[in-house]
Amino acid sequence: MNRTVQILTGIWVAGVTVAAFLWLPPAEGFRSPEAARIVVFHVPCAMLTFVAFLVNAVYSWKYLRSRDPLTDSKANAAAELGMLFAILATVTGSLFAMEQWGSAWNWDPRETSIVMLMLVYAAYFVLRGAVEEKSKRARLSAAYALLAFPAMVFLIWILPRIVESLHPTNTLFSRSGLDPKYRITLWSFFAGLLAVFVWMFRLRLRVEIAEARLRRQHRRDTMPEATPAGETR
Protein backbone atom coordinates (compact mmCIF):
# COMPACT_ATOMS: atom_id res chain seq x y z
CA MET A 1 0.00 0.00 0.00
CA ASN A 2 1.58 3.29 -0.99
CA ARG A 3 1.27 6.65 0.76
CA THR A 4 -1.65 7.94 -1.33
CA VAL A 5 -3.81 4.91 -0.61
CA GLN A 6 -2.95 5.17 3.07
CA ILE A 7 -3.90 8.85 3.18
CA LEU A 8 -7.13 8.19 1.25
CA THR A 9 -7.98 5.39 3.70
CA GLY A 10 -7.41 7.75 6.61
CA ILE A 11 -9.63 10.44 5.10
CA TRP A 12 -12.34 7.89 4.27
CA VAL A 13 -12.62 6.40 7.76
CA ALA A 14 -12.38 9.84 9.40
CA GLY A 15 -15.19 11.01 7.08
CA VAL A 16 -17.37 8.04 7.92
CA THR A 17 -16.77 8.58 11.63
CA VAL A 18 -17.82 12.24 11.35
CA ALA A 19 -20.86 11.27 9.26
CA ALA A 20 -21.88 8.79 11.93
CA PHE A 21 -22.22 11.74 14.31
CA LEU A 22 -23.56 14.52 12.11
CA TRP A 23 -25.48 12.84 9.31
CA LEU A 24 -26.78 9.67 10.94
CA PRO A 25 -30.06 10.26 12.83
CA PRO A 26 -30.57 8.72 16.29
CA ALA A 27 -32.24 5.31 16.12
CA GLU A 28 -35.87 5.58 17.15
CA GLY A 29 -37.35 2.69 19.09
CA PHE A 30 -34.27 1.98 21.19
CA ARG A 31 -33.93 2.72 24.86
CA SER A 32 -31.38 5.44 24.17
CA PRO A 33 -31.58 6.40 20.49
CA GLU A 34 -28.32 8.38 20.50
CA ALA A 35 -26.22 5.49 21.72
CA ALA A 36 -27.97 2.89 19.56
CA ARG A 37 -25.95 4.26 16.66
CA ILE A 38 -23.08 2.24 18.08
CA VAL A 39 -24.19 -0.56 15.75
CA VAL A 40 -22.57 1.16 12.76
CA PHE A 41 -19.20 0.76 14.48
CA HIS A 42 -19.83 -2.46 16.34
CA VAL A 43 -21.17 -4.63 13.52
CA PRO A 44 -18.28 -3.95 11.08
CA CYS A 45 -15.80 -4.93 13.80
CA ALA A 46 -17.62 -8.24 14.27
CA MET A 47 -17.71 -8.75 10.49
CA LEU A 48 -13.98 -8.11 10.24
CA THR A 49 -13.35 -10.68 12.94
CA PHE A 50 -15.02 -13.21 10.71
CA VAL A 51 -13.13 -12.00 7.63
CA ALA A 52 -9.81 -12.26 9.47
CA PHE A 53 -10.45 -15.80 10.65
CA LEU A 54 -11.63 -16.73 7.16
CA VAL A 55 -8.35 -15.37 5.77
CA ASN A 56 -6.52 -17.38 8.41
CA ALA A 57 -8.28 -20.59 7.32
CA VAL A 58 -7.59 -19.90 3.64
CA TYR A 59 -3.87 -19.32 4.19
CA SER A 60 -3.70 -22.35 6.48
CA TRP A 61 -5.13 -24.47 3.70
CA LYS A 62 -2.75 -22.90 1.20
CA TYR A 63 0.16 -23.59 3.52
CA LEU A 64 -0.65 -27.28 3.71
CA ARG A 65 -0.66 -27.38 -0.10
CA SER A 66 2.47 -25.30 -0.74
CA ARG A 67 4.57 -25.53 2.47
CA ASP A 68 5.68 -21.97 1.84
CA PRO A 69 6.85 -20.30 5.11
CA LEU A 70 5.52 -16.91 4.02
CA THR A 71 2.02 -18.36 3.74
CA ASP A 72 2.28 -19.53 7.33
CA SER A 73 3.25 -16.00 8.39
CA LYS A 74 0.19 -14.70 6.57
CA ALA A 75 -2.07 -17.12 8.42
CA ASN A 76 -0.55 -16.07 11.72
CA ALA A 77 -0.92 -12.36 10.92
CA ALA A 78 -4.59 -12.85 10.02
CA ALA A 79 -5.26 -14.68 13.28
CA GLU A 80 -3.61 -11.89 15.25
CA LEU A 81 -5.74 -9.27 13.51
CA GLY A 82 -8.83 -11.38 14.03
CA MET A 83 -8.10 -11.36 17.73
CA LEU A 84 -7.74 -7.56 17.71
CA PHE A 85 -11.09 -7.08 15.99
CA ALA A 86 -12.76 -9.65 18.24
CA ILE A 87 -11.66 -7.62 21.25
CA LEU A 88 -12.90 -4.38 19.64
CA ALA A 89 -16.24 -5.99 18.76
CA THR A 90 -16.65 -7.30 22.31
CA VAL A 91 -15.84 -3.98 23.96
CA THR A 92 -18.07 -1.90 21.68
CA GLY A 93 -20.78 -4.54 21.99
CA SER A 94 -20.79 -4.46 25.76
CA LEU A 95 -20.96 -0.65 25.71
CA PHE A 96 -24.07 -1.01 23.53
CA ALA A 97 -25.47 -3.68 25.87
CA MET A 98 -24.91 -1.43 28.86
CA GLU A 99 -26.97 1.37 27.28
CA GLN A 100 -29.74 -0.74 25.76
CA TRP A 101 -30.13 -3.86 27.83
CA GLY A 102 -28.98 -2.53 31.17
CA SER A 103 -25.98 -4.72 31.73
CA ALA A 104 -22.66 -5.07 30.00
CA TRP A 105 -22.83 -8.83 29.75
CA ASN A 106 -25.97 -10.94 29.23
CA TRP A 107 -24.69 -14.37 28.10
CA ASP A 108 -26.49 -13.75 24.87
CA PRO A 109 -25.54 -16.43 22.29
CA ARG A 110 -23.57 -13.92 20.24
CA GLU A 111 -21.70 -12.68 23.29
CA THR A 112 -20.98 -16.27 24.24
CA SER A 113 -19.85 -17.16 20.76
CA ILE A 114 -17.35 -14.31 20.47
CA VAL A 115 -15.75 -15.33 23.77
CA MET A 116 -15.55 -18.90 22.53
CA LEU A 117 -14.07 -17.62 19.28
CA MET A 118 -11.36 -15.80 21.20
CA LEU A 119 -10.69 -19.04 23.09
CA VAL A 120 -10.31 -20.91 19.80
CA TYR A 121 -7.66 -18.53 18.54
CA ALA A 122 -6.01 -18.17 21.93
CA ALA A 123 -5.54 -21.94 21.72
CA TYR A 124 -4.07 -21.43 18.23
CA PHE A 125 -1.45 -19.06 19.66
CA VAL A 126 -0.73 -21.44 22.55
CA LEU A 127 -0.09 -24.21 20.03
CA ARG A 128 2.25 -21.96 18.05
CA GLY A 129 4.13 -21.22 21.24
CA ALA A 130 4.45 -24.89 22.14
CA VAL A 131 6.26 -26.07 19.00
CA GLU A 132 9.90 -25.03 18.52
CA GLU A 133 10.67 -26.22 15.06
CA LYS A 134 9.41 -23.79 12.43
CA SER A 135 8.07 -26.04 9.71
CA LYS A 136 6.43 -28.33 12.22
CA ARG A 137 4.84 -25.39 13.99
CA ALA A 138 3.47 -24.14 10.69
CA ARG A 139 2.10 -27.54 9.74
CA LEU A 140 0.43 -28.26 13.08
CA SER A 141 -1.06 -24.82 13.52
CA ALA A 142 -2.43 -24.85 9.97
CA ALA A 143 -4.06 -28.20 10.67
CA TYR A 144 -5.50 -26.89 13.92
CA ALA A 145 -6.84 -23.75 12.27
CA LEU A 146 -8.69 -25.88 9.74
CA LEU A 147 -10.15 -28.05 12.50
CA ALA A 148 -11.23 -25.01 14.47
CA PHE A 149 -12.87 -23.44 11.42
CA PRO A 150 -16.03 -25.63 11.42
CA ALA A 151 -16.38 -24.92 15.15
CA MET A 152 -16.15 -21.21 14.38
CA VAL A 153 -18.80 -21.42 11.66
CA PHE A 154 -21.04 -23.20 14.14
CA LEU A 155 -20.52 -20.52 16.78
CA ILE A 156 -21.14 -17.62 14.41
CA TRP A 157 -23.86 -18.87 12.10
CA ILE A 158 -25.69 -21.75 13.79
CA LEU A 159 -25.67 -21.20 17.55
CA PRO A 160 -27.35 -17.73 17.53
CA ARG A 161 -30.13 -19.18 15.38
CA ILE A 162 -30.98 -22.14 17.61
CA VAL A 163 -30.86 -20.30 20.94
CA GLU A 164 -32.96 -17.27 21.87
CA SER A 165 -30.92 -14.14 21.21
CA LEU A 166 -31.14 -10.46 21.98
CA HIS A 167 -29.37 -9.80 18.69
CA PRO A 168 -31.47 -9.62 15.55
CA THR A 169 -30.76 -12.08 12.75
CA ASN A 170 -30.82 -11.48 9.01
CA THR A 171 -30.98 -7.69 9.19
CA LEU A 172 -27.73 -7.07 7.38
CA PHE A 173 -28.57 -8.35 3.95
CA SER A 174 -32.35 -8.05 3.78
CA ARG A 175 -33.93 -4.93 2.33
CA SER A 176 -36.42 -4.23 5.09
CA GLY A 177 -34.03 -4.83 7.96
CA LEU A 178 -32.20 -1.56 8.31
CA ASP A 179 -32.77 2.12 7.65
CA PRO A 180 -30.93 3.06 4.41
CA LYS A 181 -28.82 5.71 6.15
CA TYR A 182 -27.72 3.12 8.68
CA ARG A 183 -26.97 0.62 5.97
CA ILE A 184 -24.83 3.10 4.03
CA THR A 185 -22.84 4.18 7.10
CA LEU A 186 -22.36 0.65 8.32
CA TRP A 187 -21.07 -0.69 5.02
CA SER A 188 -18.89 2.38 4.41
CA PHE A 189 -17.29 1.88 7.78
CA PHE A 190 -16.83 -1.78 6.95
CA ALA A 191 -15.06 -0.83 3.70
CA GLY A 192 -12.81 1.58 5.59
CA LEU A 193 -11.96 -1.01 8.21
CA LEU A 194 -11.23 -3.54 5.48
CA ALA A 195 -8.67 -1.16 3.96
CA VAL A 196 -7.15 -0.61 7.41
CA PHE A 197 -7.08 -4.37 7.83
CA VAL A 198 -5.05 -4.77 4.62
CA TRP A 199 -2.70 -2.03 5.80
CA MET A 200 -2.12 -3.67 9.20
CA PHE A 201 -1.79 -7.08 7.59
CA ARG A 202 1.01 -5.94 5.32
CA LEU A 203 2.85 -4.14 8.09
CA ARG A 204 2.58 -7.28 10.24
CA LEU A 205 4.09 -9.32 7.39
CA ARG A 206 7.00 -6.91 7.00
CA VAL A 207 7.78 -7.35 10.70
CA GLU A 208 7.74 -11.10 10.23
CA ILE A 209 10.03 -10.93 7.19
CA ALA A 210 12.48 -8.64 8.96
CA GLU A 211 12.58 -11.04 11.91
CA ALA A 212 13.30 -13.96 9.60
CA ARG A 213 16.12 -12.04 7.89
CA LEU A 214 17.63 -11.14 11.24
CA ARG A 215 17.54 -14.78 12.30
CA ARG A 216 19.27 -15.86 9.09
CA GLN A 217 21.92 -13.21 9.53
CA HIS A 218 22.50 -14.32 13.12
CA ARG A 219 23.00 -17.88 12.07
CA ARG A 220 25.51 -16.87 9.41
CA ASP A 221 27.43 -14.75 11.92
CA THR A 222 27.49 -17.14 14.85
CA MET A 223 28.23 -20.39 13.07
CA PRO A 224 29.85 -19.77 9.69
CA GLU A 225 30.80 -23.43 9.20
CA ALA A 226 27.42 -24.90 10.07
CA THR A 227 25.30 -26.46 7.37
CA PRO A 228 22.04 -24.67 6.64
CA ALA A 229 20.20 -27.45 8.43
CA GLY A 230 19.22 -25.28 11.38
CA GLU A 231 15.59 -25.42 10.37
CA THR A 232 15.27 -29.16 10.73
CA ARG A 233 15.67 -31.00 13.94
Binding site: L64, M116, L119, V120, A123, V126, L127, A130, V131, E132, K136, R139, L140, A142, A143, Y144, L146, L147, A148, F149, P150, A151, F154, L155, I158, L159, I162
Partner: protein, 228 residues
Protein backbone atom coordinates in the same frame (compact mmCIF):
# COMPACT_ATOMS: atom_id res chain seq x y z
CA UNK B 1 -8.88 -55.28 -3.71
CA UNK B 2 -10.18 -51.80 -4.41
CA UNK B 3 -9.06 -48.71 -2.53
CA UNK B 4 -12.05 -48.08 -0.33
CA UNK B 5 -12.06 -51.55 1.17
CA UNK B 6 -8.29 -51.42 1.65
CA UNK B 7 -8.41 -48.45 4.02
CA UNK B 8 -11.30 -50.04 5.86
CA UNK B 9 -9.23 -53.18 6.36
CA UNK B 10 -6.29 -51.10 7.53
CA UNK B 11 -8.54 -49.24 9.94
CA UNK B 12 -9.80 -52.49 11.43
CA UNK B 13 -6.23 -53.74 11.81
CA UNK B 14 -5.14 -50.50 13.56
CA UNK B 15 -8.23 -50.61 15.77
CA UNK B 16 -7.62 -54.23 16.78
CA UNK B 17 -3.93 -53.60 17.44
CA UNK B 18 -4.66 -50.58 19.62
CA UNK B 19 -7.31 -52.32 21.69
CA UNK B 20 -5.09 -55.35 22.18
CA UNK B 21 -2.37 -53.06 23.49
CA UNK B 22 -4.86 -51.10 25.58
CA UNK B 23 -6.34 -54.20 27.18
CA UNK B 24 -2.84 -55.32 28.10
CA UNK B 25 -1.73 -52.01 29.68
CA UNK B 26 -5.08 -50.31 30.40
CA UNK B 27 -3.47 -46.86 30.56
CA UNK B 28 -6.12 -44.83 28.70
CA UNK B 29 -9.05 -46.83 30.06
CA UNK B 30 -7.75 -46.60 33.61
CA UNK B 31 -7.09 -42.87 33.41
CA UNK B 32 -10.43 -42.04 31.83
CA UNK B 33 -12.63 -44.22 34.03
CA UNK B 34 -10.86 -43.34 37.27
CA UNK B 35 -11.09 -39.64 36.51
CA UNK B 36 -14.79 -39.94 35.74
CA UNK B 37 -15.66 -42.08 38.76
CA UNK B 38 -13.70 -39.84 41.11
CA UNK B 39 -15.40 -36.68 39.89
CA UNK B 40 -18.86 -38.27 39.89
CA UNK B 41 -18.39 -39.47 43.46
CA UNK B 42 -17.05 -36.09 44.54
CA UNK B 43 -19.93 -34.19 42.94
CA UNK B 44 -22.42 -36.75 44.26
CA UNK B 45 -21.07 -36.17 47.74
CA UNK B 46 -21.39 -32.40 47.39
CA UNK B 47 -24.63 -32.13 45.39
CA UNK B 48 -26.79 -34.97 46.72
CA UNK B 49 -30.53 -34.17 46.90
CA UNK B 50 -30.85 -32.04 50.05
CA UNK B 51 -28.57 -29.45 48.42
CA UNK B 52 -31.32 -28.56 45.95
CA UNK B 53 -29.13 -28.08 42.89
CA UNK B 54 -31.38 -27.70 39.82
CA UNK B 55 -31.31 -30.39 37.14
CA UNK B 56 -29.99 -27.89 34.55
CA UNK B 57 -26.79 -27.58 36.53
CA UNK B 58 -26.55 -31.33 36.86
CA UNK B 59 -26.85 -31.78 33.08
CA UNK B 60 -24.01 -29.34 32.46
CA UNK B 61 -21.90 -30.94 35.18
CA UNK B 62 -22.37 -34.42 33.72
CA UNK B 63 -20.90 -33.34 30.40
CA UNK B 64 -18.13 -31.33 32.00
CA UNK B 65 -17.12 -34.50 33.86
CA UNK B 66 -17.30 -36.59 30.68
CA UNK B 67 -15.33 -34.05 28.66
CA UNK B 68 -12.52 -33.69 31.16
CA UNK B 69 -12.33 -37.44 31.68
CA UNK B 70 -12.05 -37.79 27.90
CA UNK B 71 -9.25 -35.22 27.84
CA UNK B 72 -7.33 -37.47 30.22
CA UNK B 73 -7.33 -40.33 27.74
CA UNK B 74 -8.22 -39.46 24.15
CA UNK B 75 -4.77 -38.29 23.07
CA UNK B 76 -3.21 -41.47 24.43
CA UNK B 77 -3.77 -43.37 21.20
CA UNK B 78 -1.37 -41.09 19.29
CA UNK B 79 1.01 -40.28 22.12
CA UNK B 80 1.75 -43.98 22.59
CA UNK B 81 2.88 -44.25 18.96
CA UNK B 82 5.32 -41.39 19.41
CA UNK B 83 6.60 -42.65 22.75
CA UNK B 84 7.28 -46.19 21.64
CA UNK B 85 8.57 -44.88 18.29
CA UNK B 86 6.20 -47.08 16.34
CA UNK B 87 4.76 -44.16 14.39
CA UNK B 88 7.26 -44.54 11.55
CA UNK B 89 6.52 -48.22 11.06
CA UNK B 90 2.80 -47.46 11.05
CA UNK B 91 3.34 -44.67 8.54
CA UNK B 92 5.05 -47.08 6.17
CA UNK B 93 2.56 -49.89 6.55
CA UNK B 94 -0.78 -48.11 6.59
CA UNK B 95 -2.38 -45.23 4.67
CA UNK B 96 -3.10 -42.11 6.71
CA UNK B 97 -6.85 -42.46 6.20
CA UNK B 98 -6.65 -46.01 7.54
CA UNK B 99 -4.73 -44.83 10.60
CA UNK B 100 -7.19 -42.02 11.26
CA UNK B 101 -10.25 -44.23 10.89
CA UNK B 102 -8.75 -46.86 13.20
CA UNK B 103 -7.81 -44.33 15.86
CA UNK B 104 -11.19 -42.61 15.61
CA UNK B 105 -12.93 -45.95 16.11
CA UNK B 106 -10.70 -46.62 19.10
CA UNK B 107 -11.56 -43.29 20.67
CA UNK B 108 -15.27 -43.73 19.95
CA UNK B 109 -15.29 -47.09 21.74
CA UNK B 110 -13.31 -45.56 24.60
CA UNK B 111 -15.92 -42.80 24.89
CA UNK B 112 -18.80 -45.28 24.82
CA UNK B 113 -17.17 -47.31 27.57
CA UNK B 114 -16.63 -44.16 29.59
CA UNK B 115 -20.25 -43.08 29.18
CA UNK B 116 -21.62 -46.57 29.87
CA UNK B 117 -19.96 -46.39 33.27
CA UNK B 118 -20.31 -42.69 34.07
CA UNK B 119 -23.90 -41.91 33.07
CA UNK B 120 -25.69 -44.65 35.08
CA UNK B 121 -23.45 -43.94 38.06
CA UNK B 122 -24.19 -40.24 37.77
CA UNK B 123 -27.95 -40.80 37.51
CA UNK B 124 -27.79 -43.03 40.55
CA UNK B 125 -25.58 -40.92 42.82
CA UNK B 126 -26.96 -37.50 41.95
CA UNK B 127 -30.57 -38.63 41.64
CA UNK B 128 -31.04 -36.82 38.38
CA UNK B 129 -34.57 -36.84 37.00
CA UNK B 130 -35.22 -39.00 33.95
CA UNK B 131 -38.35 -38.39 31.88
CA UNK B 132 -37.21 -39.96 28.65
CA UNK B 133 -34.67 -42.77 28.95
CA UNK B 134 -34.53 -43.79 25.29
CA UNK B 135 -33.78 -40.20 24.24
CA UNK B 136 -31.02 -40.01 26.84
CA UNK B 137 -29.42 -43.17 25.44
CA UNK B 138 -29.42 -41.70 21.92
CA UNK B 139 -28.15 -38.31 23.12
CA UNK B 140 -25.31 -39.89 25.09
CA UNK B 141 -24.39 -42.16 22.19
CA UNK B 142 -24.37 -39.34 19.64
CA UNK B 143 -22.71 -36.90 22.02
CA UNK B 144 -19.87 -39.20 22.97
CA UNK B 145 -19.28 -40.11 19.32
CA UNK B 146 -19.23 -36.42 18.40
CA UNK B 147 -16.67 -35.70 21.12
CA UNK B 148 -14.47 -38.51 19.80
CA UNK B 149 -14.81 -37.15 16.24
CA UNK B 150 -13.93 -33.62 17.33
CA UNK B 151 -10.87 -34.47 19.36
CA UNK B 152 -9.13 -37.35 17.56
CA UNK B 153 -7.25 -35.14 15.09
CA UNK B 154 -6.38 -32.73 17.91
CA UNK B 155 -4.84 -35.70 19.71
CA UNK B 156 -2.64 -36.30 16.67
CA UNK B 157 -1.51 -32.65 16.72
CA UNK B 158 -0.76 -32.77 20.43
CA UNK B 159 1.30 -35.96 20.12
CA UNK B 160 3.73 -34.02 17.91
CA UNK B 161 4.11 -31.08 20.29
CA UNK B 162 5.71 -30.62 23.70
CA UNK B 163 3.77 -30.29 26.98
CA UNK B 164 1.21 -32.75 25.67
CA UNK B 165 -0.97 -33.13 28.73
CA UNK B 166 -1.72 -29.46 29.21
CA UNK B 167 -1.94 -28.75 25.50
CA UNK B 168 -4.58 -31.37 24.70
CA UNK B 169 -7.09 -29.82 27.07
CA UNK B 170 -6.47 -26.31 25.78
CA UNK B 171 -6.68 -27.32 22.13
CA UNK B 172 -9.58 -29.74 22.26
CA UNK B 173 -11.89 -27.54 24.29
CA UNK B 174 -12.69 -25.06 21.50
CA UNK B 175 -13.21 -27.80 18.92
CA UNK B 176 -15.35 -29.86 21.28
CA UNK B 177 -17.40 -26.86 22.36
CA UNK B 178 -20.17 -26.98 19.71
CA UNK B 179 -21.14 -30.61 20.44
CA UNK B 180 -20.85 -29.96 24.18
CA UNK B 181 -23.24 -26.99 24.14
CA UNK B 182 -25.77 -28.90 22.06
CA UNK B 183 -25.57 -32.11 24.01
CA UNK B 184 -26.09 -30.34 27.35
CA UNK B 185 -29.24 -28.77 25.93
CA UNK B 186 -30.51 -32.16 24.72
CA UNK B 187 -29.71 -33.85 28.03
CA UNK B 188 -31.76 -31.24 29.86
CA UNK B 189 -34.63 -32.03 27.50
CA UNK B 190 -34.39 -35.76 28.18
CA UNK B 191 -34.43 -35.14 31.91
CA UNK B 192 -37.08 -32.49 32.25
CA UNK B 193 -39.19 -32.03 29.17
CA UNK B 194 -42.57 -33.66 28.52
CA UNK B 195 -42.23 -33.59 24.75
CA UNK B 196 -38.51 -34.23 24.86
CA UNK B 197 -38.16 -35.61 21.33
CA UNK B 198 -39.54 -32.40 19.83
CA UNK B 199 -37.31 -30.21 21.99
CA UNK B 200 -34.18 -32.23 21.24
CA UNK B 201 -34.81 -32.87 17.52
CA UNK B 202 -32.88 -29.79 16.44
CA UNK B 203 -30.00 -30.65 18.76
CA UNK B 204 -29.70 -34.15 17.35
CA UNK B 205 -29.64 -32.70 13.82
CA UNK B 206 -26.93 -30.19 14.69
CA UNK B 207 -24.93 -32.92 16.40
CA UNK B 208 -25.09 -35.20 13.36
CA UNK B 209 -24.34 -32.29 11.06
CA UNK B 210 -21.31 -31.36 13.12
CA UNK B 211 -19.94 -34.88 12.82
CA UNK B 212 -20.54 -34.89 9.07
CA UNK B 213 -18.40 -31.74 8.80
CA UNK B 214 -15.65 -32.40 11.31
CA UNK B 215 -14.84 -35.96 10.22
CA UNK B 216 -14.07 -35.15 6.55
CA UNK B 217 -12.18 -32.03 7.68
CA UNK B 218 -10.15 -34.15 10.08
CA UNK B 219 -9.38 -36.73 7.38
CA UNK B 220 -8.17 -34.00 5.02
CA UNK B 221 -6.01 -32.36 7.66
CA UNK B 222 -4.78 -35.57 9.27
CA UNK B 223 -2.69 -36.53 6.25
CA UNK B 224 -0.59 -33.41 6.86
CA UNK B 225 -0.30 -33.90 10.61
CA UNK B 226 0.64 -37.54 10.34
CA UNK B 227 3.22 -37.51 7.56
CA UNK B 228 6.61 -36.09 8.51
Amino acid sequence: MNRSSSWAHEAIAVFAKDWLLELRTRVALGAVVLFAVTSVVASGFALAPPSGVPAEVKAALLWVVIFFAAVAGLSRVFVVEEETRTADALRLAVSSTGVFAGKLAFNAVLMWTLCAITVPLYLLLLEAPLRNASLLVIVVLLGSTALACATTAVGAIVAKATMRGALFGVLSFPVALPPLLVVIHATKAAWLSDNAWRVAAGDLQVLSGFMLVIVPASVLVFEHIWSE
